[in-house]
């Protein structure tokens, strides 16, 4: 019902897939996955918490049910046995494993996600040949791949992430914070950072429930979670999928505290969604999100351009969608 690739050209990854296993039933099953290994360079607790939160947001984005979500945890871990020469940081890796398990407990209990199954791939280590006949011990970053499955009560209410109609309003739900530790942006610049995104289930969950109701009430035209890469990346993907432009104003983004423009664009704070809404549903939508962090940050445009204004009103980004798509697809070469 919702395929892994969506949009007018059927080439942008959906938040989650939806299947209808019983052909004669209107019910569906949403399925998603999340993987954030770079966060473990800061703390495997938050790596795990963010993976759970992302997988949950992914199924909610397509029309899943917060109260019927199951999870599967797949551990991909390096050897945790300490050895002074062969594995000198083994104790740290073991501590990261403990931290990850604590996050699984804390976040799954808070969100009410039973863990249906899981798999452990330990000893993800290897020795790679070096240039001068030496060998390098390489250990995988401590990683959890988290999968979520959710019931969809009626597939007729499913949404996709592609923006649909020019003139629709663009809302950012959830709070953007100075959380770029382990982010894609820092990775491009050669940094790790320290302020890794944190999951606040008690604060996030009411917003998720509110969005679930808004989707079921057909108030939303498109829904996209904000994941790795931040607002800039996921807004661009929603625009590319819809074949329509976006005009966004960073001054309207709900922030915890004043933040530099580049941090607003690329922060990977958890708990956020990008939603488009028909202008005649504005009142109903804003009433539904009264009391929640929800900022109307822009509009869907006919012109196929990504235009972003900075927090002080100065032009920041003005790019053609074609150029964005070419850049985005380049790493795939001729594979697809």
């Amino acid at each position: 019902m919702i395929k892994p690739l969506v949009g007018v050209d059927r080439d942008v990854p959906s938040d989650a897939a939806v299947i209808r296993p019983v052909l004669s039933s209107p019910r569906g099953l949403a399925f998603s996955q999340a993987l954030l290994p770079t966060y473990s360079a800061v703390d495997a607790y938050h790596m795990t918490a963010c993976a759970i939160d992302e997988a949950l947001r992914r199924v909610i984005a397509v029309g899943g049910d917060c109260d019927h979500v199951g999870g599967v945890d797949n551990f991909c871990w390096p050897n945790i046995q300490y050895h002074p020469e062969k594995n000198p940081d083994g104790k740290f890796k073991a501590a990261q494993l403990v931290r990850a398990c604590r996050a699984l407990r804390d976040v799954c209990l808070a969100y009410g996600i039973p863990l249906l199954s899981g798999k452990d791939s330990m000893y993800v280590d290897g020795n790679l040949a070096g240039r001068y006949g030496i060998s390098h011990k390489v250990s995988a970053p401590e990683t959890i791949q988290f999968s979520a499955i959710s019931r969809v009560p009626d597939i007729a209410h499913c949404t996709t992430m592609d923006v649909k109609v020019p003139g629709d309003l663009v809302y950012l739900l959830g709070i953007t914070r100075d959380e770029l530790g382990g982010s894609e942006y820092y990775e491009h610049l050669g940094y790790v950072g320290r302020q890794v995104p944190e999951v606040r289930p008690e604060a996030f969950q009411p917003l998720y429930r509110c969005l679930q109701t808004a989707i079921a009430d057909s108030l939303t035209a498109s829904v996209r979670g904000i994941y790795r890469g931040g607002i800039a990346v996921h807004a661009a993907l929603a625009a590319l999928a819809g074949g329509l432009g976006l005009s966004l104003d960073l001054a309207k983004v709900p922030l915890e505290a004043a933040l530099r423009d580049d941090k607003v664009l690329f922060s990977e704070s958890a708990g956020r969604f990008l939603v488009t809404v028909a202008s005649d549903r504005r009142q109903a939508f804003e009433a539904a999100f009264d009391g929640h962090a929800a900022g109307c940050i822009g509009v869907v445009t006919e012109a196929p351009r990504m235009v972003i204004t900075g927090t002080r009103g100065e032009p920041l980004v003005d790019l053609a969608l074609d150029d964005l798509k070419t850049a985005w697809k380049a790493p795939f070469g001729d594979l697809v």
Binding site: M1, L23, I155, C158, T159, T160, K164, V165, S218
Partner: protein
């Protein structure tokens, strides 16, 4: 014909679309029974008891020796006479994807001059070099005798195949064209001919050929999967269409059957007469 129209949907040996195909036939008003190929060969099931025979999609015998080749050999060797008697008794046969490949290997298509044994067309490896899972637009030949495509013009259906390139000699194509046996061709989204352009023509088929029928129009084979469009939400753009419909005060999903189900309804309607 009175009573229920009974449809036999083959299963087994790597076929994997039988549940969906049977469901589509049921939606179209037929009574569909999934029958294992061996049950037909052993005589536990007889073609005489059915009015529609569906060769469905999948990877029969793992596509060994070419897609559909072994299924065709196995059926021709064991129930070839029953199959020909079925076709000659004015009943309906549909071959979808792997089923289409089987029909051409059996020689049930193109069926020139009542010859249902000669292989004269082939479905071979896609020009793009790999398996494709996508949706295509088809232009239906509205003058075709094909009973399955009656009333249809431009429709979207899913494809899932690695060997869908239709190849044959130029004189065979000319003959297929002359008798309007090319019931469905790959087209651009607006219905204009694909003219071989990828991905509209997804496999490099000569003449954009997606499906052909026999001269009577009662045997039909096609690479796209009509049973895969059994619900409006199967379409890749349905959320966009639903949003547009709702903004003009219409329900999210249209009334009436999908084009995929209409193909099976046409078959049932033809048999009801």
């Amino acid at each position: 014909m009175t009573g229920k129209i009974r449809a036999l949907v083959l299963t087994g040996f790597g076929l994997n679309c039988d549940l969906e195909t049977a469901y589509a036939l049921e939606l179209a008003g037929a009574e569909a029974v999934r029958v294992h190929i061996n049950a037909l060969i052993d005589g536990d099931a007889r073609l005489d008891d059915y009015q529609i025979l569906a060769f469905g999609g999948g990877f029969s015998w793992g596509d060994d020796h070419g897609a559909g080749v072994l299924q065709a050999v196995r059926l021709r060797t064991n129930v070839g006479d029953q199959l020909r008697a079925f076709v000659e008794s004015q009943r309906l046969v549909i071959g979808i994807c792997n089923g289409f490949q089987t029909l051409v290997n059996l020689g049930l298509l193109p069926g020139f001059d009542g010859d249902y044994q000669t292989r004269s067309v082939a479905l071979t490896f896609n020009d793009c070099g790999n398996f494709r899972d996508d949706w295509v637009t088809l232009k239906i030949d509205t003058r075709s005798p094909c009973v399955f495509t009656k009333g249809l013009d431009v429709i979207d259906l899913p494809i899932r195949h690695g060997e869908g390139k239709f190849v044959t000699a130029p004189e065979v194509i000319a003959r297929l064209e002359a008798h309007h046996q090319i019931a469905a061709r790959y087209a651009r989204p607006n219905g204009a001919p694909a003219e071989g352009a990828f991905p509209h023509n997804p496999n490099g088929s000569l003449g954009d050929i997606a499906g052909i029928c026999d001269p009577t129009g009662r045997v039909f084979g096609l690479m796209p999967h009509p049973e895969g469009f059994n619900h409006w939400s199967n379409h890749p753009l349905w959320t966009r269409q639903a949003e547009a419909r709702q903004r003009t005060g219409q329900p999210a999903m249209p009334e009436g059957p999908t084009p995929g189900i209409q193909i099976f309804r046409n078959a049932v309607a033809c048999l009801r007469g």
